[in-house]
């Protein structure tokens, strides 16, 4: 076990982790941040997407030791329980979710994408979500939601 200092959702703390452990397991099992989902655990589905220094990474492929000294942001850090991010708001409103299991990963992918690409076209939004598997919605309402969020962010 190694003692590491992690900054997650703005809070810095020390955690004992295995050297081979992924940040996904550290978040879920040691920090009790279960909003980040484990769907495939092999980098195929995007459900465990989190932000490292503002960039989306797959939690299941990222060793915890590589997160030391970085700002980690998870789904729990997005709305802080107060107001929903526009991406979240539109996912709720347009039913861009059904079972909701892929949703945290979708949110964590769409937010940095729209921040970098506020004028993204529908096709670009589609492309940006291509690493997030969803089995319920057929993606249409997810794409609609992200498009609507982009529009509201611009206005």
């Amino acid at each position: 076990m190694e003692k590491v200092t992690l900054t997650v959702n703005g809070f810095t703390q020390s955690v004992l982790v295995e050297s081979h452990e992924t940040i996904l397991d550290t978040l879920r099992n040691r920090l009790n941040l279960t909003g980040t989902k484990k769907c495939c655990d092999e980098g195929t589905c995007g459900s465990c997407t989190i932000l490292m220094d503002g960039k989306p990474v797959l939690g299941c492929l990222t060793p915890t030791l590589r997160c030391v000294g970085k700002e980690i942001l998870t789904i729990e850090g997005i709305s802080s329980g107060e107001s929903l991010h526009l991406v979240q708001k539109h996912l709720v409103k347009s039913l861009g979710l059904q079972c909701g299991f892929c949703t945290p990963g979708v949110v964590m992918t769409a937010i940095p994408f729209l921040e970098e690409n506020p004028h993204a076209s529908r096709n670009e939004i589609k492309e940006s979500l291509s690493g997030n598997l969803c089995r319920c919605t057929g993606y249409k309402k997810i794409i609609d939601a992200v498009e609507n969020a982009a529009e509201e962010m611009r206005s």
Binding site: C39, Q98, C99, K126, R135
Partner: protein
């Protein structure tokens, strides 16, 4: 409708889900909890010669190890095929079957323990194709001892009406096809997970990712020898099911047995590979089907011989066998009709129920043959279908009662929106349009386990705080059933939705519901919820009309107020609640649903019976590159008759999700095996469509207003998948002139056909 019903309504649990606060099974953690890892068979069909546990037992952190002999009672979702045990006993029947389970202080310690177990196998003859399983073998080679005539046939389902074979022998217009469908799997995102706890009062609580808490309770009772009243099954937020979580599962038996044995909470969560191995998906299917028409295009007969590859265990297979045939009786009127389905056991992952249960593959066959017929008779494929639709309030040859039926509106809608009449058959080479129709049950009229109870009961509770709580066993699996319960109560009582909350899917606190499968929830639970809420209203009306001296009929409940038309009485909801509860306090009202008696008096007459059927018509547009064989679905127009859209957002979501899943099966998904081992047990190699593969979708909701559905509603979750697949296949024909008789339609198959065609 003046309230919440019929309005696009976001899900009541959506904020929880979108903020990561929703609790799925694996998110639950309890003090002193232990973790389970499973040892899985490396052989497809073999005797277990020896099982050596000593080293594993001594491994650090290991608390207990269980094997098949510890939990020997067989179980299964259907009482007629309880052929599975929690772990293999004496022999294994597929690669990946659980042989032993290790419980340890951490998941790592459990996994380390599993590696220290030694198993010796003695190989038996392996059966990997249904053709192998249809042959006679020695008793020792039989996958299950109970199959007849020393063959590995699990079930033969056959029904025949009015000698279709005679008609087909002499028919002038006849089409015959041999079709082949790869097995596909649900691909839900949340892996199976269950946590069991043995409570201080000698009862069991299990939190499990299940679509069927009631059947799990029943099977746990049998397997553990524990009375039903000592078992609490709770379904947490569930990450997708599509039929893949509608059986009781071995790991649920294992964690329950272990928690009782070691008196600690026990959790087991599967890896994605284990989810693929557990499977229970759509059966690999081979169909030989013939269809005939008279000179005017009226269908005269249909006959099908179907083989489905069931894998190692029964699951829903008996029902699947029937559904492959009986669900061909609509949406067209076919008076000479027959089928035989044989379900074989093979040494592969077991198959079961998956969205559109049993009818998806044969629907592809029917709709393809109809398209071939239209082409051959030089008729428009839409026209040919329209000549044959069952009418409203009619009956099928197998005595299905048809009530509402919006199929004509469905086909008219997609025909118009896709500009079919001016584009079909006229697009440039490589571009094509295809049409197909379908229908599906709104729940089975007969319960799986025969009893005299209703199929569902809902309780509505009113208390001093003015809040309505709807208690229902219905399992929210992403389809929106919790939201539906709230909408219905709000509608009946004329109150805002935030006055209504739900307690659901907990066999200790909620009345029995059979589960979220066979598209039964909206119709059955919806009806029960409506009755329960309207009974609350009746009680309030009684009290208010007595106290205020008005007639009961004159009271209107709307917008959080209760008033008479002339407003001589106009009180708030809270005032009404106070009057209703005076002298009696909080009360509960109940509603239930039980299907009317339906169907004929012959063996097999119960299969496919439903109080109502949904209908649909879809048109797909594809682009095929004739040089590479690559097929791209550009747009899908889908019209589905759901009776009445109680929540149009949810209905659209179901139709769009069906397009996704139908697209996957048609274009890319396939359970691939070599010598019994799955070659693609991951999302890299098992390709479900991504956002980039998603075609444009144009969804039309048709409301035929069912006479018995709640507010006229019927199902929308499974019916829409049926037309998707054949509409794509037929579009490929329109594009490049080749008939795709095998799914998935991969580029190599298209290219081969195009080359043969030249």
């Amino acid at each position: 409708m003046t309230g919440a019903i019929g309005k696009p309504t976001p899900y009541i649990d959506a904020v929880q889900k979108v903020t990561g606060q929703a609790m799925y099974a694996d998110d639950y953690k309890f003090p002193n909890m232990v973790y389970v890892s499973c040892l899985r068979s490396t052989e497809s069909h073999a005797k277990i010669k020896s099982l050596e546990l000593k080293k594993a037992e001594a491994s650090p952190g290991v608390i207990a190890i269980v094997t098949g002999k510890d939990i020997p009672v067989p179980f299964g979702v259907l009482s007629i095929s309880r052929d599975e045990t929690a772990m293999a006993i004496e022999k294994v029947r597929y690669q990946g079957e659980i042989v032993a389970a290790v419980a340890a202080e951490t998941i790592e310690a459990a996994e380390a323990g599993v590696k220290l177990i030694n198993v010796e196998y003695e190989p038996l003859t392996e059966f990997f194709t249904p053709q192998d399983s249809l042959k006679t073998c020695t008793p020792d080679e039989q996958i299950h001892a109970h199959t007849k005539d020393h063959k590995n046939i699990h079930k033969t389902a056959e029904l025949r009406f009015n000698e279709p074979e005679k008609e087909l022998e002499t028919a002038k217009h006849k089409q015959t096809g041999e079709f082949k469908f790869a097995g596909v799997t649900h691909g839900f995102t949340e892996p199976h997970s269950a946590v069991a706890m043995w409570n201080g009062d000698e009862t069991l609580t299990i939190i499990s990712a299940t679509q069927v808490p009631h059947y799990l309770q029943k099977n746990l009772s049998k397997v553990l020898g524990l009375p039903l009243h000592k078992i609490q099954v709770k379904k947490p937020v569930l990450g997708g099911g599509f039929g893949g979580k509608s059986d009781p599962f071995p790991h649920e038996m294992i964690v329950s047995f272990l928690s009782k044995k070691i008196k600690r909470p026990v959790k087991c969560t599967f890896s994605r590979e284990e989810v693929f191995i557990t499977h229970h998906g759509r059966h690999p299917t081979e169909i030989n089907m013939s269809l005939s028409c008279d000179a005017g295009g009226k269908i005269t007969a249909l006959d099908a011989d179907i083989i489905i590859d069931g894998g190692a265990y029964g699951s829903f297979g008996v029902v699947t066998s029937y559904y492959n045939g009986v669900l061909l009786q609509g949406p067209y009127e076919i008076n000479k009709f027959g089928f035989r389905t044989r379900r074989t056991y093979t040494n592969k992952h077991q198959c079961g129920a998956m969205r559109g249960h049993g009818a998806v593959n044969p629907r592809y066959a029917v709709e393809t043959l109809l398209d071939m017929m239209a082409h051959n008779m030089k008729m428009d494929p839409c026209d040919l279908r329209e000549k044959n639709f069952l009418s409203e309030h009619s009956s099928t040859v197998g005595e299905f009662r048809i009530t509402s039926n919006g199929i004509r509106d469905c086909i008219a809608a997609v025909r118009k929106k896709s500009d079919w009449d001016s584009r079909y058959g006229k697009l440039p080479y490589g571009h094509g349009l295809g049409v197909a129709c379908g229908f599906f049950i709104s729940g089975s009229a007969l319960p799986i386990l025969w009893n005299r109870y209703p199929q569902t009961v809902v309780h509505a509770k009113l208390d001093f705080d003015g809040r309505i709580v709807m208690f229902s066993g219905a399992s929210e699996i992403g389809q929106g059933s919790d939201t539906l319960l709230v909408q219905i109560a709000a509608e009946e009582l004329g109150i805002p939705m935030d006055f209504v909350q739900v307690e659901v899917a907990d066999t200790k606190t909620t009345p029995v519901d059979l589960g979220s499968y066979s598209s039964r929830v909206t119709f059955m639970v919806g009806n029960a919820a409506k009755t329960a809420a309207s009974n609350i209203r009746n009680e309030m009306v009684k009290a208010i009309s007595k106290e205020k001296d008005t007639t009961a009929e004159s009271l209107i409940f709307r917008n959080g107020r209760i008033f008479t038309k002339d407003k001589s009485l106009d009180i708030t909801w809270e005032e009404g609640v106070e009057m209703a509860m005076a002298g009696r306090g909080a009360f509960v009202e109940s509603g239930f649903y039980i299907s009317p008696k339906l169907g004929g008096n012959f063996k097999g007459a119960g299969a496919g019976l439903s109080p109502s059927y949904s209908f649909g018509a879809f048109i797909s547009e594809v682009e095929v590159n004739p040089k590479t064989g690559e097929t791209n679905v550009i747009k899908v127009w889908g019209a589905h008759d759901c009776g009445k859209a109680l929540n149009p957002l949810a209905v659209e979501g179901q139709i769009e999700g069906s397009i996704h899943m139908g697209l996957g099966q048609t274009m890319s998904e396939e359970m691939r095996y070599k010598n019994g081992q799955q070659l693609n047990a991951n999302f890299f190699d098992y390709r479900i469509p991504s956002s980039l593969d998603t075609p444009d979708m144009d969804v039309t909701i048709i409301e035929s207003n069912d006479p018995e559905g709640p507010y006229g509603a019927k199902e929308a979750g499974e019916g829409p998948i049926h037309p998707v697949l054949p509409s794509i296949g037929n579009a490929v024909f329109d594009a490049v002139g080749v008939r795709m008789m095998e799914l998935p339609i991969t580029p190599d198959k298209v290219l081969k056909k195009i080359k043969e065609n030249v």
